[in-house]
Subunit: 553 residues, 2 copies
């Protein structure tokens, strides 16, 4: 089973901050921030490869993701971000090929998933938070480097006779530009499909006027004008923003969980690992005290404000599960605390939805829940007395593959909806989780959202809001058997099944990237023509030439 | 490279007719046809497996596809089709597992592609041709059997305490219900995703009232009422049709190509195979005589009417390429003849679009072009003097990954659009090929469609209708080098790249089935947990229990 086995990987920390960045420089000038890639060759996550030519591994992307979050929360006065490089004549060579070559299949898949999420978070900031991105390509921009540029609102390229954009994955490595590249070229930049076909098969890429004509970049500028034009365009992008004209922002402090061998404990989130059973228990707690209700108080509370804190912790727990606990196939999701406190927070978030910080918090919650939708583990929500599956926390039950609600008349147990279930936390398919659940029945969704009261187990079951509502006699056995049955199934078939059932309804560019493009990339990441002994990814950088089995599939 | 190697497979004929069917009985009663599955166990395409319990292989599905085409063309008086089984208490056990187990990866992929196309053709008939389908499940209906039912407009199940519908692929075989099953359950039947999750993981399936409550079937009837209720519902479906109340239809005669070792020659289509170069040349000829212009004449011409004949031949050539010529990775597409004749046919098709037979012909052309979009080979259109890339034949150039048009002022060479490029031949993404090509630029599409004149090479290039227009000095080298470069690339990376670039823009249920679902299924079809030595597909039917690598990916 060598193909499926996940090699032991180093524990990866997603907790970083600009003072610790190894690969990026973040600077600020008025309303424009500049994020400059300057990858340290010898500071990859593993000593097995060197990050030459601004190529990246997961560690580089963790810093990028962190920088974008920090600009959103810590620097509201920033309206546009220039993404560029500090290396002479090189923007970015893309994902490090020696890293990919040495990685297990699961690592490749998780690496690509995270880098996709980071790029989509940039587009989310542009679409919803007035933070625009300009890719200033000061040199060669290949593969994942160009995919990073594609995630920006505008792309400008230096016209120095040498610098080109390229997607050399297919011709050089026999894999796909899988970090959104193929999708964004045709769907976002609207490059004609035949030109995209040519572009995707020539390793040297396209430069100069042709890059503009083919819509691959928005403009090219000679070296002498480049810096000035970048400044001009960044200023124009910044001018379109509706972000505040000045700060202060809030500081995103480290989460500082307590980590033991079988648990990660945060303030509002805990993750318990049962490796023998291949099950984890993920619990989110309601606030244990009243929360701020005005923007000023929220600003003052900063990263201690419960929804931000709890969802940052949830996000970290999900990433930990993905990267560090590949054997945990099933996650039991619980909540604990007073649902009234959660609903009160929801009310605050809705009431001040236009405030920049509240907006950022809600979009962060949305992105975390999307991360859960995209996490290749089975989630079962257990709704028990003492839980608080209300409003935004009920999204956890809606995101789960199934939910079980204990129906014991002697121990009251309810769920509740709020306006947070009606729009702010949309899935990547563009629908809310309620709309996806009741696909094609919008009147039913409105009716449920209009219901002011909590739902007891029979009402929740009748409304279709939970999967099952066993009574106290059946509860233990039914839940236990469901989990035992789940953990016995093939993890691959479950991954594929969940990736199909979770995204009912319309596809968007975002879901296309994770569905169509990623699924094909994952297929190719197993093909001998890429990863076999004589495959192109294996042969890259050696003297050997790849040898292909030319049968088409 | 064992995984990628395509084992030698028997040459498969797609040419059949009801008198030759081994596995289906087709009967007619007024406006209702009944297609009864009665699979001959010992008449599979290979002697290596027995088709027990109405399980199927490609041969069974070829007959089904043929029957549906024949009902559309030969029996316009048929308004509804009942799909049922002649086996006692068994509707269909799905794709034969021993066939799947013994098949190469490429065979599995092509088998699933064809069966998907057949089911989508049923939905096409329902949506566009007034031909409705009722699945009358007289017994156990598992896996691909239920996926066939899902492609029908209505599903009724006998309520005998035993008969259930099920998708046991994940729990029993560690693969997916990949013939549209997972997509149609949530997207078409709108089964709630949590219930679909349960349904997809229990091998025994769901029966009786629960099957109705979960929306898996439309009704259940006790055995005593079953036949009567099926008749009643079929009559109601038939009553909704806009098909003619009586015939005659036309007869679809055999295509009877001349087959040599390196060519398949039809009347209007020829396919030349260069195995050493791994290139095929596919040529479609314009009519060589004037074609009928009125419905009566078209009825009289029957299957000799050029567009029907030519596209049936094209369809057969594409299937032949897929199944019998896996080493041919690149297909050069040419046309020959008088473009005026093609445009005249287009005019006839548009003028009589409401006539049932013309409607069928146009939808057949549409489905054939979709088959081309879904064929995992690179298509390069070569537009040379003497060609007739006009109107419906210009769709071949639009479907191709690239097009090259020779620009030699001394040898006039044009392309032309017709109303057939403006709507009747939509891709599976719901857009025309022109709309997909010029995504987000509808005004440009209208402008081009409004252009009454043919386009010479500079005009075609300027309009973006062709990829390149080399002059006579460059032509030979440029085309040769493009083909040489293409055939040298990894066939897997090309398959993945083309599957992404060809379907720019929106996704539909149809494209989701081929993109998201199929891509994940293809991934799983390579996973050791399914097809490895101890995988579930390998272990099925033996004493061995599957052993899984439980790492999630």
């Amino acid at each position: 089973m060598a193909v499926g086995t996940n090699a032991v990987q180093p524990r990866v920390s997603f907790d970083t901050s600009p003072d610790k960045y190894k690969h990026w420089k973040l600077s600020f000038d008025g309303s424009v921030a500049t994020l400059s890639m300057d990858v340290q060759e010898d500071a990859g996550l593993s000593p097995d490869y060197r990050l030459k030519l601004n190529s990246y591994d997961l560690g580089v992307d963790i810093e990028l993701a962190d920088a974008i979050d920090r600009i959103r929360f810590e620097h509201p006065e920033i309206h546009a971000v220039v993404i560029t490089s500090l290396k002479e004549r090189i923007f970015c060579a893309g994902a490090n090929i020696f890293m990919l070559r040495g990685s297990s299949h699961a690592w490749k898949v998780n690496f690509c998933k995270f880098t996709n999420e980071t790029r989509l978070a940039m587009e989310d900031a542009s679409a919803h938070s007035g933070l625009k991105f300009l890719a200033a390509l000061n040199g060669i921009c290949a593969g994942g480097g160009y995919e990073l540029a594609l995630a920006c609102d505008e792309i400008v390229l230096v016209d120095d006779g040498n610098s080109a954009v390229s997607l050399p994955e297919t011709p050089l490595l026999a894999v796909l530009p899988g970090t959104g590249g193929l999708t964004r070229v045709v769907d976002k930049r609207k490059v004609r499909r035949d030109l995209a076909d040519v572009f995707g098969t020539i390793a040297e890429g396209v430069k100069g006027r042709r890059a503009v004509e083919w819509r691959l970049v928005d403009a090219v500028y000679p070296t002498s004008q480049f810096r000035h034009q970048v400044e001009k365009r960044a200023a124009a992008l910044a001018a379109s923003s509706d972000r505040p004209s000045s700060g202060p922002g809030i500081t995103l402090g480290p989460l500082g969980p307590t980590v033991t061998d079988d648990a990660v404990l945060y303030s509002s989130v805990s993750l318990q690992i049962d490796r023998a059973g291949r099950v984890a228990s993920l619990t989110v707690k309601a606030p244990d005290a009243a929360q701020p209700t005005s923007p000023d108080e929220i600003l003052k509370a900063g990263d201690a404000f419960w929804p931000l804190r709890a969802f940052r912790e949830l996000d970290a727990a999900l990433l930990h599960l993905r990267i560090d606990e590949p054997l945990i196939g099933t996650v039991v999701v619980r909540t604990e605390g007073d649902p009234a406190r959660v609903l009160a927070v929801d009310q605050t978030l809705i009431a001040h939805a236009d405030h920049w910080l509240v907006r950022e918090i809600v979009h962060f919650m949305k992105r975390t829940l999307k991360r859960m939708d995209l996490t290749a583990r089975s989630f079962f929500a257990l709704i028990e007395p003492g839980s608080c599956f209300a409003g935004s926390l009920f999204e956890l039950a809606l995101a789960a593959d199934r939910s079980y609600m204990l129906d014991d008349p002697e121990r009251p147990n309810t769920i509740a909806l709020s306006a947070m279930n009606g729009g702010p936390l949309k899935m990547s398919n563009g629908l809310t989780r309620l709309e996806t659940r009741f696909l094609g029945m919008p009147e039913r969704v409105s009716e449920l959202l209009g219901e002011g009261e909590p739902f007891d187990p029979p009402a929740a079951l009748d409304a279709g809001l939970v999967s099952f509502a066993p009574d106290e006699l059946d509860w233990d056995d039914e839940v236990r058997l469901a989990i035992e049955a789940r953990v016995a199934l093939s993890p691959d078939a479950l991954t594929g099944m969940e990736a199909n059932l979770r995204f009912a309804g319309p596809e968007t560019m975002e879901t296309k990237i994770f569905g169509r493009l990623t699924a094909w990339q994952n297929w190719i990441f197993q093909r001998p023509n890429a990863v076999g002994e004589k495959g192109a990814l294996t042969a890259y950088g050696s003297q050997a030439r790849p040898e292909f089995d030319f049968n088409r599939t």
